[in-house]
Symmetry: C2
Subunit: 210 residues, 2 copies
């Protein structure tokens, strides 16, 4: 069984490792083209695009490497994921620059927003190929954050590569009042539901590898 994570995010990598999976990382390179405006559709669309891109290029490589044995290949699972933050109907991605990070953090301060992560799984076993997609939504409530705290937080560098301009698993834990839903979904991958879906696909994941 070969598992590929189609994402460069170190946080997603850590989460898969945390639940005891062995996998390789092949980040998708493609442009993120959004055709939808519903947060849940956007994240599933982007996750599916990442998974498909990596799946196709990997199958092509495998086919070139061993034309004869393609049928005997190990089962393959490709995992794509995408995370966005939504506040009052507006989608907030990664900040463009420090001013944008300040704008986003000001919006979220003292309020409740939603984090969506879409996941796409492509599972190939012999001739059989299944593709499923799902998403998780988590509500996150923040304490009020002062302008000085925002300045400090931006100086730390943490906000810049993160949807919603904060890392719940980092310094921003200071600002988090409560969440409703899956925590790891906010970090970037809902490993609880991912594990359950993998079981439904018939993929057994032992814990002894840990």
């Amino acid at each position: 069984m070969e598992i590929i994570l189609a994402s460069a995010s170190p946080r997603r990598r850590e989460l898969l490792t945390q639940i005891g999976l062995e996998f390789t990382v092949i980040p998708a390179k493609g442009e993120e083209v959004i055709t939808s405006r519903m947060p849940s559709d956007v994240v599933m669309e982007l996750a599916a695009a990442k998974a498909s891109e990596v799946y196709e290029s990997h199958r092509m490589q495998m086919a070139q490497a061993k034309t004869q044995e393609a049928d005997n290949a190990d089962p393959l699972l490709v995992i794509g994921a995408d995370t966005i933050v939504a506040y009052q109907g507006t989608i907030l991605g990664k900040p463009f620059d420090e001013e944008d990070a300040r704008r986003i953090l000001n919006l979220l301060s003292g309020h409740t927003h939603e984090v969506y992560t879409g996941v796409s799984l492509i599972y190939q076993r012999g001739e059989e190929r299944q593709q499923i997609r799902f998403y998780e939504k988590t509500r996150v409530s923040m304490y009020p954050i002062t302008p000085e705290e925002i300045t400090d937080y931006i100086k730390s560098g943490e906000p810049m590569d993160k949807a919603g301009a904060y890392g719940i698993q980092g310094l921003a834990a200071r600002f988090i009042k409560r969440i409703d839903g899956d925590y790891n979904n906010v970090v970037g991958l809902p490993v609880g539901s991912l594990y359950q879906k993998m079981r439904q696909l018939g993929i057994a994941i032992s814990m002894h590898t840990v």
Copy 2:
């Protein structure tokens, strides 16, 4: 400013480090004597006992070391904490052995339980001494866990030193459906509300130390 964490828990240490605090660890040794049956009271009582024990012994040491300068001592904050799991009115602590871990995990499987962490802060600044205590409650919903999964999980060794026989920040993330409340509270220390209480006490915590 000196900060002391009165707990041996590596998870609490990680959480304080995560939000950017510098501190020393002096675990409390005392017996855990419970006089209450309300989970929220139990955890605050145990947290306060830990904080008081470490505060008193530390003050005594400091007084012996420099009798003259006791008044000029740096401000001191001692943090005590205690975490328990409660399910249908029953308090579940750390498992006694593997059979007990199995019993606890069977109870929690497919259901929603509560995690309580009590925190006690003792803040000394010159002559002034403040002591506050608070708790956070988080609801945790688990997917159904099969007997085989429980056996596997116990074999991993993770359940044995943890209230409720699971580590949400570890392999058990597989089994977690959702939470309502503070995630870090389940890990062992509600750093969001802790940070807010520290600010209310007038303790400034910069992020530049990170």
